[in-house]
Symmetry: C2
Subunit: 401 residues, 2 copies
Amino acid sequence: MTGRRINELSAAFRAALLDDTIPFWLSHATDREFGGYTTFLDRTGKLLCPDKPMWVQGRMGWTMARLYNDLEKRDEWLAASRHAVDFIRAHGFDTDGRIFYAVTRDGRPLRKRRYLFAEIFAVMAFAEYGKAAGDRESVETAKRLMRFVQELHARPWTEPGALEPKVMPQTRPMRGHSMAMIQINTLQILRGADTTPDPLPYDALIDAQIDEVFRFFVKPEKKALLETVGPNGEYLGETPEGRCVNPGHAMETAWFIMAEGKRRKDNALIERVLPILDWSLESGWDPKYGGILYFIDVEGRQPVQYEWDMKLWWPHNEAINATLLAHSLTGEKRYEAWFEKILKWSLARFADKKHGEWFGYLHRDGSLSHDLKGNMWKGPFHLPRQQLFCHLLLEEMKGRK
Amino acid sequence: MTGRRINELSAAFRAALLDDTIPFWLSHATDREFGGYTTFLDRTGKLLCPDKPMWVQGRMGWTMARLYNDLEKRDEWLAASRHAVDFIRAHGFDTDGRIFYAVTRDGRPLRKRRYLFAEIFAVMAFAEYGKAAGDRESVETAKRLMRFVQELHARPWTEPGALEPKVMPQTRPMRGHSMAMIQINTLQILRGADTTPDPLPYDALIDAQIDEVFRFFVKPEKKALLETVGPNGEYLGETPEGRCVNPGHAMETAWFIMAEGKRRKDNALIERVLPILDWSLESGWDPKYGGILYFIDVEGRQPVQYEWDMKLWWPHNEAINATLLAHSLTGEKRYEAWFEKILKWSLARFADKKHGEWFGYLHRDGSLSHDLKGNMWKGPFHLPRQQLFCHLLLEEMKGRK
C-alpha cells in the first residue's frame, strides 16, 4: 500500500468514525430519562422500538471506552461508556447472575436466552470501562462474569443449571464455533484491562480457545471453518447445520487470531490462520453481484436460511479488518486488493450519505432490503470497531514506512 | 367467471395436483425404511437433510387422507396417510403428551418447541385419517389431543406445566393471532371427521375462536388484522411485533372464516370477514414488483424481519384460496381479478417447470432466492391444499351455472 493511500485511508476512517458513526449513536440512541441506549432506530435515527437489547448496551459500553483508551481521553466518551455500564449494572442481571437478552426502556426484563452473548458483551464493557475509568471494581466484575460464562458454557447438560441446548444432546450432541471465537476476543480485551494483582491466566485461556478453533472447526480438506460440528469435531455433513459456513464469522475469527499472533510475534500462528481468510474470501465473495454472502453450504448445496444470500453490514466490516491486518502482517498484495475491493463495494452500498452511519441489510444484488440503522443486533459495534481498528493499524503502518 | 374459464381452471388445478404435486412428494419424500416422510428436499427431490419435522408429518397425513375423503378413494392415498400417522404414533409423542418439533430419520427426538403447531397438525392428520379409514380410535386420539392443546394454550403462565411465553408475561403479556386462526381450521377438520356419539361442541368452539379473531386482532381503524396484541386486544404499537401484519396469514384466516359462513349460510359473517381480505390485498400486494409481501408494518415503518419483503409460496396459495372463495360467495368481479392476477404471478415464478412442484422462496423482485422444494416448514400442504380446494370449489361453481 502506498504511503499516500495509507494517509488517505487513515484520515477517512477517523473522520467517518468521529464525524459520522459515533455522533449518530450518541445523538439518537442515548436515553437521558432511563439511562442506557435505545438502538432500534430507523434510517434517520427515530425510534422503531424502545426496548433495550443487552447485547447492544455491552457493545456500546465497550466501544466508547475503547475510543477513550486507544484514541483520545475525551470525557464525553468515558461518560457515554459509563452510561451503558450503569444501565447494565442496574437492570441487566437476573438473580441467577446471568444477563437478560432484552429489557424495556425503563429496565424491566423482557427476554433471557440460552446463549451467553449478553454476558460476553457485558464482560467487554465492564473491562474496557474499568480500564478507562481506573475502576478496579468494574474489572473485577468483568473477570467474575467471564469465569461464570466459561463455567456455564462448559457445564454438562446433565447437570443442574446447565444451559439447555437447542438440539437435544442425548440424540445429537453438537459444538458451535461462536463461543470459541468470541472468547478469544473477550479474553484479549480483559487481558488489556486487567492490571489487578491476580489476573486470570489470559494467554493460556486464549490458547485453549484458539486450539479449540483449529482442532474442531477448521477443516483444511473442505477449505472451511465450520460453524457446527460434533463434540469431537465430527463433520455433521448430513444436515444443513453441519454444512454451514458463515464467511464473515470465519474472517472475524481469523483476525482475532492474527492479532494474537502479531502481539506474540508468533509467525507460525499467523501462517496457520491465513488459510481461513483465503477460504472465506474465495467461497464467501459473491461472484455474481459482489459482496460477502451471509451463509454458504460447504458442499455447494442450497443453504436453508432465509437470509443466506443477503449482504449484511458486519461480515464486510470483519472482512475489511481481516484483509488489512493480513496485508500489514504479510505485505502480500492480494490482501491489499481484497481490502480495497471489499471497502469500495461496501462504502458504495452500505454507507448512508444522507442520514449517516451504515445500512445493515442488502438483497443479494446489493439493493437495500431494510433502511433501518439499528435493531436487536445492529448497534454501535462492528462499524465503529472497524473504523477504529483500521485507523490505528494504518497509523502503525505509517510509522513503519 | 366464465364457464369456460371455470372448466379450464378446475382441470388445471386437478392435473397439477395429481400429476405433479402429489407424485413429487410420494416419490421423493416417502421413507420406506424408517417410515414417515423426509421432506427436506432440494430442487430435484434429493435429500438436503434426513431429519423429520413433525409439522410436516401431520400435514402430509392430513393432505393424503383429505384427497381420499374428498376426491377419490384411492388405496395408495389412504396408505400414504397411514404412513405419516403411524410415524407420528411411533415417534411423535413425548412422555408429557406433547409432540416433538423434529426427530431424526429413525425417530429419535431432536427438538421440542414452546409452540403447539406440531400438535395441531397431528390433530388434523389423526382426524382426517380416522375418517378415511373408518378408524374411530384415530378420531378419538385427535379429539384428546385437541382438548390437550386447548387446555395447554389456555393455561396461565403461572401454573405448573404451562408453556413458557417468548416474552416475559410479567413484563409484557401478549396474545398471538396464529393459535386462534389455526384452531378454526383444525376444529373444522375435526368436526368433519367426528361421527362418534360424543362429539365436541364444534360450532361453539369455532365461534369462540372466530370471536377471538374479531375481538382482539381485527382493527378496522387500522385496516388490519394484527399478529400480536395485548391480552385484551391492546395495540402494542411501540414495538415492531405489535405493528406487524402478515397479509398471507390474514387471508388464510379470512378464508377459514368465509368457509364457516358458507357452511352455515351466514351472510353476515361473510360480510364481516371480507374487509380482512380487502385490507390484506391492498396492503400486502407489492406495488413495485407484484406478489405478496411477507410482513408489513401497519404504520408503514420499516419491518424488522430479514425476510419481510421476500415472496414466500404459501401466502400466495392462501390468497388464491381466499379470492376465489370470495368471488364464488359474492360474485364480485374484483375478487376474480385479484384471483387471476395472483395466480398468474405465482405460476410464472413459483412453479418449477423442470423438476415439478413449487419453489418456496423468492426475492422481492421475484427472482429465486432458494431452489429447495421442502424444509422444516415447506412440505405437502399449502400448495396441494390450494389445488384441491380450488378444484372442488370450481366444480361446485360449475354446478351453479
